[in-house]
């Protein structure tokens, strides 16, 4: 099997991921006291989980190499990045510039992430959603969220 094809295998990546997490669990066994079966330390359970994850990960990894199966489909990088940037922008601006600015940023950034972006429509959506969110969450439920800067 060519390397390019191998790198498209779902199992190849899933196996790697589980083994990496398993390594973290086993690392926990090294960092924290493992103890005995009767008197378990904080590292006992993480280490056991880690070992299981490494084993299962290895099985999945080998399956990816020996029996090629489903391939990873195209990543929706643009929506993913814009959604995450939107959330982080909201987090960054909320306590500083207030809810209206933060929510507008979130809706705009996530809107751009979609395939059909219509500037006018997003403005209308923004106005409607932000107004009702302020009314419901800040006025009615009185959550402690700053509305304006």
């Amino acid at each position: 099997m060519s390397i390019a094809r191998l790198l498209r295998q779902q199992d190849f990546w899933a196996g790697l991921m589980f083994m990496a997490f398993g390594a973290i669990g086993i690392g926990g066994g090294l960092m924290y006291r493992v103890g005995t079966t009767q008197e378990m330390g904080p590292g006992y359970f993480p280490r056991a989980i880690g070992v299981a994850l490494v084993l299962l990960g290895a099985i999945i990894f080998m399956r990816g190499i020996l029996a090629p199966g489903k391939e990873v489909s195209r990543w929706a990088i643009r929506p993913l990045i814009l959604l995450i940037v939107g959330i982080l922008a909201f987090a960054y601006t909320l306590e500083w510039l207030g809810f209206v600015v933060a929510a507008t940023a979130l809706i705009f950034l996530s809107g751009v992430g979609g395939k059909e972006f219509d500037f006018k429509e997003v403005i209308l959506l923004c106005a409607a959603v932000v107004t009702s969110a302020v009314l419901i969450f800040v006025k009615a439920l009185s959550l402690p969220i700053p509305v304006w800067p």
Binding site: F21, G25, T36, Q38, P79
Partner: protein, 500 residues
Amino acid sequence: MSALFDAIATGAHTALSPTNLIYCFGGVTLGTLIGILPGLGPIATISMLLPVTFYLPPETALITLAGIYYGAQYGGSTTAVLVNMPGESSSVVTCLDGYAMARQGKAGPALSIAAIASFFAGCVATLVIASFAPVLANFALEFGPAEYFALMLLGLVAAVVLASGSLVNAFAMIFLGLLFGTVGTDLNTGVERFTFGIPKLVDGVDFVTMSMGIFAISEIVVNLESVQERTILKEKIGRLLPSAEDFKRSIWPIVRGTGLGSMLGILPGGGAVLSSFASYAVEKRIAKEPGRFGKGAIEGVAGPEAANNAGAQTSFIPLLTLGIPSNPVMALMIGAMMIQGITPGPQIMTAKPDLFWGVIVSMWAGNLMLVILNLPMIGIWIQLLKVPYRLLYPTILLLCVIGVYSVNNATFDLVILSVFGVMGYVFVKIGCEPAPLLLGFILGPLLEEYFRRALIMSHGDLSVFVRNPISGTIIAMAAVLLLIVVLPSIRKKREEAFQE
């Protein structure tokens, strides 16, 4: 018998109080709504609403969440009939004959039969819960840590076996969930595990943030991968009332579906999805003219719809009596209970009878509301189907963000939300269904606790889990279940069943 009536009276007192009725109504309406709206499932919705329920009394919170769950089953079947798109995975089979009926101008009777079947199943399942749960809870009161450990093991194994997709991946996801569950202060020793110096992680990974990231955020990204076109039904809905002939054909499928659903719902890992598939298979097999199925046979709507509703409800039995979730939605319910300071388990029934029976009676009330309110509102639901996703997802995203922020009023939680959002999307892309992770995460800390306690009591002797008769039996059941799926012949059948 009179004890049962007393109990139901206690429940009615709680469930029929004006506040709880309003929240129950809100829950079922919201559930129907999300069942109908594209790209928004019950797991994502319940995680979004968990922060709101923190402010409610426990019974009101559970009544609302339960309403969302079975409301969503109901809404899911509406879209199955009207646009040939299952709103929830439990109504996949309803598409087959429901949509065919709609094409023939019989959408009205299909929806009515679905509603009637759901209501009947809901009533019976409520009775099943009311008579079965106390017995199980009393039995479980005797359980020690070894038995609980075994039960949770069985629950996890069964949930994996009955899920679709690769078994090994599902197991790995459970272990990953267990690993996430160990983050934070270890209760027995006070040692901080995997906190990496981040003070926010001392109390562990927040379960609302995690499930919202993994389910809601990644769901949006997956939906944005491709533009989905929904073709709205052009044919007339037709009159609502089914004909006498329709009724005659539906009665027995409804009864059989209810029976199947009630039984399968109790099984760990069972619930609505499995029940509806089983019921469709049964109806098709015993039908005099199996050829009619897929071409608008009303039995193919009545049976599965009764079964998925019965299954959705009886899956509350393991939750309320043993504190074991049989599916991810129930895992979220456990999370909701724990946030309210209630330890799920058999003691709930005796310690909090108004909560226990209140939730049960509210299910019956909620089902009645669904029938009375939803049939006349079909026109409105059809309008809602036309809401384009590009307007919906920014709104969902904003609700998620507000929800996560409101839990601790900390913007750092939103960073964690982003991390889990990306992680959830990666899981989907590399073929790892995330639901088992949630089960592992919720059960993880309990599993560890019971494992430790059992071994302290047995002085480190691991054979205690097998020597104890009850836990031994339960572990044997788990092993058999596992063996069955691993055996090649049955494995092939299982794959075929999921293909259908």
